[in-house]
């Protein structure tokens, strides 16, 4: 086991552990914060895999934007803040589906890991610090991947408009008399 593997194992353990906390914690805000930890550990893992630009983007967008957005969502939906006791059908966080969900998740993990171990038991990543920086990625992006990039911009625009239309109450279909 090399040093890289040790570090990666630690980062992976942090990521998976905080992810488990995200889906099991009894406090909504804590879940969002544990998500930050998990995403941060993943950014570390990206760095380790020589994808430094992706790692920074991960930190910027996920940790910076997405989690903040989720926190705003928590506030706007007046979600229960604070520690929620685990309590049957009125539990605001976990549904009664929990045990089925656990079984499905374990089965998924089993199938995935079995497959991966079967398929990649002898694959070794040769880690060299090249190609993960902003410059080669940008060159590749604006040369080879420029078309998906532009399409993505259209997608973002559509999502933007959609989010505005959905969240504003004064926009909607006219009723029969032509009033809003």
């Amino acid at each position: 086991m090399t040093a890289q593997e040790v570090v990666f194992t630690l980062l992976g353990a942090v990521a998976v552990g905080s992810a488990i906390l995200v889906v099991t914690t009894r406090q909504l805000v804590h879940a969002a914060l544990w998500l930050v930890v998990s995403f941060g550990a993943l950014a570390g893992a990206y760095l380790l895999l020589t994808a430094e630009f992706v790692a920074w983007v991960q930190v910027l967008i996920y940790v910076g934007a997405v989690v903040v957005l989720l926190l705003f969502g928590i506030m706007l939906t007046r979600a229960p803040i604070g520690r929620m006791p685990r309590g049957g059908p009125d539990d605001p966080l976990d549904s009664g589906n929990r045990w089925a969900a656990l079984a499905v998740a374990l089965a998924t993990a089993g199938v995935l890991i079995t497959t991966l171990v079967h398929g990649f038991s002898d694959a070794v990543i040769d880690l060299k610090a090249e190609g993960g920086g902003a410059e080669p990625l940008g060159a590749s992006l604006f040369r080879t991947w420029v078309l998906p990039f532009e399409v993505l911009s259209v997608l973002l625009l559509a999502a933007l408009i959609g989010a505005i239309v959905l969240s504003r109450t004064d926009i909607g279909p006219r009723d029969r008399e032509g009033r809003r």
């Binding site: 992810a19 995200v22 889906v23 893992a45 967008i61 549904s95 499905v104 890991i113 990543i125 990625l137």
Partner: protein
């Protein structure tokens, strides 16, 4: 580095995300779990990019795209959640069962019919609150 490390981590993250999507009742928590699953995919992409030393950096760039799409998805998802909350005064996904079979209890059904005729968001939300 052995390729199995990032792959197994991503598989575990994905499974945790699956559990979260299936087990969490709060819509925002579900969105978080979806983010976990997306991140597992991202990790996979980056790991394979490194494994096969792609000269075009397809894995890393796709990861970037995924992150962008995830950001858009979260934005839209939150908008939908807010809309649901505004109409129903709840974000508990297992209470949003209007598309299911009508309930057997006649009193319940009558109340449901009343709620439908009044067509008031509040009434609909109360109906959604019902057991």
């Amino acid at each position: 580095m052995h390729a199995l490390y990032p792959l197994v981590v991503s598989a575990l993250l994905f499974s945790v995300g699956v559990y979260g999507v299936l087990a969490r009742r709060n819509a925002i928590l579900m969105l978080m779990s979806v983010e976990l699953m997306l991140n597992a995919v991202n990790l996979n992409l980056v790991a394979f990019d490194a494994l096969w030393r792609d000269r075009l950096h397809g894995g890393q760039l796709l990861t970037l795209f995924t992150i962008v799409i995830a950001a858009a998805e979260v934005g839209l998802g939150l908008a939908i959640v807010l809309l649901v909350f505004r109409n129903r005064k709840t974000v508990e996904v297992d209470r949003l069962t209007e598309l299911g079979e009508a309930r057997r209890d006649p009193a319940e059904a009558r109340r449901g019919a009343d709620a439908e005729t009044s067509a008031e968001p509040v009434a609909a939300a109360r109906e959604g609150d019902g057991p």
